[in-house]
């Protein structure tokens, strides 16, 4: 039963959504005067769709920094507050997921690890690049399953799968998969009772 004043389709409070965004009914992307207009400032994905949001999710002050090959999917009834979603391949988030204030989810290193390649990347990213191609870097999809709770200031790194019902404590840096229902804490995040 939808609330009477639910909008028929989702929307962004600070502008019209890019054409490759699909958003379900009752979902809203919002933010304050500072963060609201920035939500899609670095949304440059070529994929169609590049962002899929389910129904009744609320994304408050979230930045969708999605690169050319990036893709972000968010399920129903999610809530995120001033979080950073930074994608070069794929971030898939399930239903009823809570993402705390200033949490960061990344699916890539964004730069090569090898020192020589890093120099080449610095040049390719510079104002003097002249169209020079960037060297490859590692990206691996991130999957966050249903009912996961991610605390404020937490960081989820590339290739991680957080299974259903897990809890990521505030400030944790998650570098490995988290089993269903587990609670993780620390840097690097470890399972705690």
């Amino acid at each position: 039963m939808a609330a009477r004043d639910s909008p028929p389709t989702g929307y962004w409070t600070h502008g019209s959504l890019p054409p490759n965004v699909r958003i379900g009914s009752g979902s809203v992307i919002t933010g304050d005067d500072v963060t609201g207009p920035l939500a899609f400032k670095r949304f440059t994905t070529d994929r169609h769709p590049g962002l899929v949001i389910g129904a009744r999710s609320r994304l408050d002050g979230v930045l969708f920094n999605v690169g050319r090959q990036g893709y972000v999917e968010i399920g129903d009834d999610c809530y995120a507050e001033d979080a950073f979603l930074i994608s070069e391949c794929s971030i898939v988030i399930g239903h009823r997921v809570v993402i705390g204030w200033h949490a960061t989810i990344v699916d890539s290193d964004f730069h090569p690890i090898d020192p020589a390649r890093r120099i080449a990347d610095a040049v390719a990213c510079s104002p003097l690049a002249n169209g020079r191609p960037r060297p490859p870097f590692v990206s691996r999809p991130v999957v966050i399953e249903d009912d996961v709770w991610i605390g404020p200031n937490a960081t989820i790194l590339k290739g991680v799968r957080i299974a259903a019902g897990a809890m990521v404590e505030p400030g944790a840096v998650v570098t490995q998969d988290v089993p269903s229902g587990a609670r993780v804490l620390g840097n690097p995040a470890q399972i705690v009772p």
């Binding site: 039963m1 939808a2 609330a3 979902s27 204030w101 605390g151 200031n153 809890m167 944790a172 804490l185």
Partner: protein, 191 residues
């Protein structure tokens, strides 16, 4: 009668149920966008204390935040469902999180602007029922580094220093210096 602040970038107001010393400083009424306390005094802030621009008081209906005199809170997040007390002369750096509760679903619980049905807060595991909500105390003259997290139930002792990006999960003795995630005692300051 709610009041607004002079030259405030945010078009909000300061709630009525707060006790503010006339010399205390508020950077912006933005701090109160998630302030929902229904207590007679949901925030008490002392002489010469500052709550700078960017600070957020995410205070639930039964929450009460106390900020002692000359305390300096920069753009930190305080999540309070019961009690968060910050002592006199304490300093809290930017992006620090001080929380007495594992909730932080303000807009979801209150309906936000979407007024949508919500299936209830996701279960954060076994801690939820036992001690979801435990008061946090930051002692006199304590110093919390940037990006640090102070978790529910923690007491930071007088004069202690919490290093940047630390996550504090247990009490910190007076004049200790703690750091790391989870935080450990590094050494003590000589009195």
């Amino acid at each position: 009668m709610t009041r607004s602040l002079p030259s405030d970038w945010y078009p909000g107001t300061v709630p009525d149920n707060i006790r503010v010393d006339a010399t205390a400083y508020f950077g912006s009424s933005y701090a109160f966008t998630k302030f929902r306390s229904r207590l007679a005094v949901g925030l008490a802030i002392g002489r010469g204390a500052s709550l700078c621009d960017g600070a957020i008081l995410d205070v639930g209906e039964a929450g009460c935040v106390t900020i002692g005199e000359f305390a300096l809170i920069t753009s930190a997040l305080i999540i309070c469902d019961r009690e968060v007390r910050i002592g006199p002369y304490a300093m809290v750096s930017w992006n620090a999180v001080i929380m007495d509760s594992y909730r932080f679903l303000p807009s979801v619980i209150s309906g936000g602007t979407t007024s949508r049905p919500f299936t209830g807060p996701p279960s954060p595991g076994p801690r939820e029922s036992a001690d979801r909500c435990r008061p946090v105390y930051v002692g006199n003259n304590a110093w919390i580094g940037f990006d640090a997290c102070i978790l529910p139930g923690v007491t930071i002792g007088e004069g202690a220093i919490v290093g940047a990006r630390s996550v504090v999960i247990s009490d910190v003795p007076a004049y200790a210096i703690v750091g790391g995630n989870p935080a450990r005692i590094i050494r003590y300051q000589c009195p």
